[in-house]
Symmetry: C2
Subunit: 494 residues, 2 copies
């Protein structure tokens, strides 16, 4: 399949049939075999870094240094999922031995393990041409779980998608993974067709609220609905108390500007709302940083779709008259916009949350001045689910504990100080949150826990040892942790 040409119905049928055929043999691979496959993909991508970088730069307008870091993150992520497979805890193996004296009556021998859901369709994002695209987090976690992946390429970087897909397929073939485990398709209608196909058992997506909701609606309105893991949108509020301003206003100003303009503001974790005490001089400091020409300048956006969306969002905000321009240059609406800062008051914000808290994907943010810190407790109830929420405060300010609690009701990740851009891939990461941050609040799309999205448990009752999945056999030849009669046990070190 060549980039930019939509995948034809005939080609889709080949892809779907191959994915279905590959599902059983791929599921039957040992975790260590699948780990080898992930490592092979990471190796091939690292080897091809010099070839991929110019394509990515041309198609995404992102800088070489940013893209190089992102590719490093991508291959690190693949290898971390390989380690997750080696660890074995992702299988959640449980063994209840038969027990005639079990409290509700005799208990049979019952054993439970996670199995792959089956073929997944993954919709790539525009803003991370590596880390949330062809070989990105959704692909890595679905393959780790044992699910074939049909990857719908993002139109923003077609050539990079095609080439990355070739490398992934080649790496999988090298380690002997079944044919059909991975394919890249092109075209929005092709993506929807695949999502509707009964052979597909789950969907994953990173992108806009509108696009993600449309796909979610397809997934849940199928004759047999399937899980859909959409990471949609977030404005990532940041609350700054007077104590924090007194401690280091300049660091907050610098940190905020750095974070909301990073990558031209094209991150789902961009801090779009900054709540500051009124009269503390924060607006003036922020504006001054740009007036002095020391602030970040213009940077090109990813593609025309993003430019159009950003312009429309910014115009809606400015034209509303509810947000005053704090920083708004002549080039604010260009294809390579200069950063924009708007400001408003807390009462106006609380009265117009739908307008003022809408995500504006690009280098813009809204500064909200509050008179009484206790009013901040009203903000979160006005916001939808968030990927992140950040608090800059002093530990001894009474509002801190209350805000942290309220933030935990609305967001997937809470930050004390610092800035939400930069999502580390690790064991304890949670990149998710209530709708519209995601369509599946119990799951994460970053970090090792992401593998759980693509699995479901199966219990085996009185099944003979030889017919049990290996992870549930008493000999435990894979050496995975097993929860036996309710207590977790680890295999002896060999």
């Amino acid at each position: 399949m060549t980039a930019e040409t939509p995948t034809s119905s005939e080609q889709l049928e080949v892809v779907l049939a191959a994915a279905q055929s590959a599902a059983r043999p791929f599921a039957d691979l040992s975790p260590s075999s699948r780990a080898a496959a992930l490592r092979a993909i990471a190796d091939r991508l690292d080897d091809a870094a010099a070839e991929l970088a110019p394509i990515a730069e041309r198609e995404s307008h992102l800088s070489q240094s940013r893209l190089s870091g992102e590719l490093g993150r991508t291959t690190f992520q693949l290898r971390l999922f390989a380690q997750t497979l080696d660890d074995g805890a992702f299988l959640d193996a449980r063994i209840d031995r038969s027990d005639p004296d079990w409290g509700m009556g005799p208990r049979p021998d019952l054993r439970r393990v996670n199995v792959p859901l089956g073929p997944a369709v993954v919709f790539a994002a525009s803003n991370f041409p590596f880390a949330f695209s062809v070989a990105g987090g959704d692909t890595a976690s679905a393959l780790a779980a044992g699910c074939p992946v049909v990857l719908k390429a993002h139109p923003g970087h077609p050539e990079l998608s095609a080439r990355t897909g070739e490398l992934v397929i080649k790496a999988l073939a090298e380690v002997g993974a079944p044919d059909g485990v991975f394919a890249v398709i092109f075209g929005d209608e092709a993506g929807r067709t695949v999502l509707r196909d009964p052979r597909i058992q789950s969907g994953a997506f990173t992108g806009s609220i509108r696009g993600g909701r449309a796909l979610f609606d397809i997934a849940v309105s199928r004759e047999a609905p399937i899980p859909f893991f959409g990471e949609l949108g977030s404005t990532n509020p940041v609350f700054v108390t007077e104590g924090a301003v007194l401690d280091d206003a300049d660091a907050i100003v610098d940190g905020f500007i750095g974070s909301f303009t990073l990558g031209a503001g094209q991150f789902c974790t961009k801090p779009g709302l900054l709540f500051v005490p009124a009269g503390a001089g924060m607006e003036e400091k922020l504006a001054a940083r740009f007036d002095a020409d020391a602030g970040p300048g213009a940077a090109p956006l990813l593609n025309d779709r993003i430019v159009a969306g950003y312009r429309a969002g910014l115009e809606r905000l400015v034209d509303s008259g509810l947000a005053a321009p704090l920083v708004l240059g002549d080039e604010a609406y260009s294809d390579a916009p200069t950063p924009t800062l708007l400001s408003t008051t807390l009462p106006d914000f609380l009265a117009n949350p739908d307008l003022l808290a809408a995500e504006c994907f690009g280098p813009a943010a809204l500064v909200i001045a509050y008179d009484d810190v206790s009013e901040l407790t009203k903000v979160l109830a006005k916001l939808g689910g968030q990927l992140t929420a950040t608090l800059h405060a002093r530990k001894d300010e009474p509002i801190a504990a209350e805000l942290i609690r309220l933030m935990s009701d609305r967001a997937g990740r809470l930050l004390w100080g610092g800035w939400p851009t930069g999502v580390v891939v690790s064991y304890a990461q949670q990149h998710g949150g209530p709708y519209p941050a995601t369509t599946a609040p119990a799951t994460t799309s970053v970090g090792t826990a992401a593998i759980a999205r693509f699995m479901r448990p199966v219990a085996y009752q009185n099944v003979p040892q030889a017919l049990l999945p290996i992870a549930l056999q008493d000999v435990n030849s894979w050496g995975v942790p097993q929860r036996i009669n309710g207590r977790l046990e680890f295999p002896a070190e060999v």
Copy 2:
């Protein structure tokens, strides 16, 4: 609120406001406090057994012995969730300490724990007036997770629901749980209203495919969709090989008849499809067991809705001409029907799966004769998701391993021998499966893992110890297991 009168809009508003107010204080209770609440509910129910039993018998037409067993199962389940809370693993506490040398760049201190989703609406089932009703599995697991519960009573047992609800509320008050943590509401429209309310964060349901799908559609079409855990329908295929027939045909005949007629066939795990080798005499043996008047007789169904649905389903099957009556008495269509067995051939079954594999909730089953055992591998692809699938075979029959694998693609629980009715509540249970068995295949509605449905993870980045949730603090005063830098660690025994 009194039974049988639909809950008014004004009353619903009171219930929803109270549930929302209770969410935070209930979430803040320690696991051991919530465990105490569950144990108090179990104690109050046990104390009231003599009072509840006659109400349950009158409203459900189930036998005293069956109801007594079910109440025992219900209080056992509450206490097992209490134990799950004491264990602490359900929190999945993870701590990644800051690490400047982390592979993708410096890692902040990142900690992750499961928090309650918020208020849940639980739709009670008709066929388990205790175990899947007011104080049943969904309520127990949602309360265990820390979520207030609005319980929509099943119209089949309104008085029992009202009285059980009073006992639950009283028990919760005794242990100091916040007001509003639990309420019982009546009326289908009231249930839908609650499901649509933005204060409700999840739904759970046990019942029919049609009813469950309608509620699922409401949950996912809200402005902010919420997780909906529906346990809908299943025909629970049982495959019998020639080897198994040779080993003990009579035991299979007895076991099957006992299982499909248990509780008048009103179990979601009723084996509705029995695949037997043609010409092995199984049909004759089954029919003979009823001819000899030794088989189970008539038994009343739960309520008029069930009677109407059972009659319509049975008529559709018989009138189709695709299934021949094997056992079909004069009373087969009455309010207290005698059991019915129909028979067909595998080719006819494979050609008409939608008609012949439809769930017929009541004491009926279909016996399918096959000529070639290898043809059984085609059956599962024709069936939707199943709660269970059962295989009676010899270990050395080559088909056994293949069928087990295929069964694992379609069902939540696989049985080797035995019968699917009787779902033990334990650590390794999985009561779920792909749609239409459930609307959430990664979850279970029976067993300790059911608690995970009502939680979502939250990550805390660089948050000071005193502001962290207790389960994430270094001192670990609750003594929960913590996964530290990717390795699970247990607190030292005190």
